[in-house]
Symmetry: C2
Subunit: 242 residues, 2 copies
DNA sequence: AGCCGCGATCTTGTATGCAATCCGCGGTGG
DNA sequence: CCACCGCGGATTGCATACAAGATCGCGGCT
């Protein structure tokens, strides 16, 4: 039907498991992902793990360094900006496609979803965040554009990862109310309202992430100091200045 | 630097070689891609071929059917529409990012490229088509958004494949003049002109592809007849009409 | 005492082998 | 004559085996 993940159950299983682990921060950005260990954990050979890691690398969730193995990606701020910019364009494409074209069944699915979000709100845990993200996936799905769905999924995943790196702890992510408002605008066919709502919504998320220079961004910081510093590249930078 | 193809030379080599072969229609859509044969041709083992095919599948250039091997993708018209819609959004994002922000060096690179296109025009062969496509890649690159660059590359590839399936033979692809006009608009910072030019440009390509119902689209046709036909699914469609 | 170079160990990259699955063909029965 | 069935060849899926490269710690040198 679609064209991505579930190729054959085995590699797909590992792929999805690792993906979820990364998105839930069970595997922190930068964490090493040794093939052997994963393979034994899943009871398969390295071959399948390798395939799964390759796909995750294709989605930008893991980094593959030659002869040095895989690790959970830790996107730079520049990459974050890139991802957000594209995500915005894709999600606007989705709302444009949907605006004024929601049939009853589609609207019902959206409503049901935000209801679920609202219900999960008090639990406050990862479920809430996941549902908020899946709302956007649902929008993409409703366009009927399978490729758009794939891209939005990929971009949303990367956004999740980015927020886990740079986001404020308080990321209650997407406000349920904003989702409801968007559904209303889609139903009413108010194109400019749709776009404005979606942009505002995404900007809120993005702003939460990109403003702060959290401790731990190191790579960005060091990059700006590099090239002018010590003659021999400092290998043992413990770099924990206040 | 970027984040895609050239991981390690070997698998990347095969990947690019197959990609080019597909885009040049040396390998026609639907063509079977046996691992063994490719492996022996490149002098490597099936492992690497498999990796390359996997990546190509991720880009939508080949289809992987479980236990049935890989073949060059032959996108349906619905997929074609999806791809075009997304490509348009991405390329508009690119021109928006570039409009009025071209520095001299960037403009020079663009000019040099279209000059090369013009020079290759009389040769009329695959080079011309390739250069026309690469103009769009160059635009994406100039935005400095690596992810956008990757996506545009992927989408342009798929467009190429689609045109090879559904396009009219005469596809002299992108007119050099349209490229020149776009550069001018970018330099002048005329945002709406930029968008209009790009949209017109892409619509021209898209229109060339999607209007005709060429013989050979079969899948689309059969899809509409399926579900009401024979009780046992007809297995022996040899389907090689002139 | 600190630094550099070197070997041991672990990890990854690639090839190969084996079992499972699918496709095509010939045989058989209606 | 046509449709169904079963078998052989070919091809994929996966695991394992082997080799190259990287990481880390230790001993020698300054």
């Amino acid at each position: 039907m679609t064209e991505d993940t579930p190729k054959n159950s085995r590699a797909g299983t590992i792929h999805q498991a690792l993906r979820q682990a990364i998105l839930e921060q069970a595997l922190a950005p930068g964490a090493k992902l040794p093939e052997d260990l994963i393979a034994s954990q899943f009871g398969v050979s390295r071959t399948l793990v390798r395939e799964a890691l390759g796909r995750l690398a294709g989605e930008g969730l893991v980094e593959l360094r030659h002869n040095r193995g895989a690790s959970v990606a830790s996107p730079s701020l520049a990459e974050a900006r890139d991802v957000f910019a594209i995500r915005r364009a894709m999600e606007l494409l989705a709302v444009d496609a949907l605006c004024g074209r929601l049939d009853a069944a589609q609207e019902a699915r959206l409503q049901a979803h935000v209801d679920a979000e609202a219900a999960a709100q008090p639990m406050g845990d990862a479920t809430s965040i996941r549902l908020a993200g899946e709302f956007h996936l649902l929008l993409a799905e409703l366009t009927g554009n399978a490729l758009l769905q794939r891209y939005v999924a990929e971009l949303a995943s990367r956004c999740s990862l980015i927020l886990s790196l740079y986001g404020r702890p308080h990321s209650a992510d997407c406000a349920v109310e904003e989702h409801r408002a968007l559904i209303a605008a889609l139903r009413d066919g108010d194109a400019s309202a749709c776009r404005a709502l979606m942009e505002h919504h995404l900007d809120a998320v993005m702003g939460r992430a990109l403003l702060p220079q959290r401790p731990g961004d190191m790579r960005e910081v060091l990059a700006r100091y590099a090239g002018t510093t010590s003659p021999s590249p400092p290998r043992r930078a413990k770099a924990r200045s206040a």
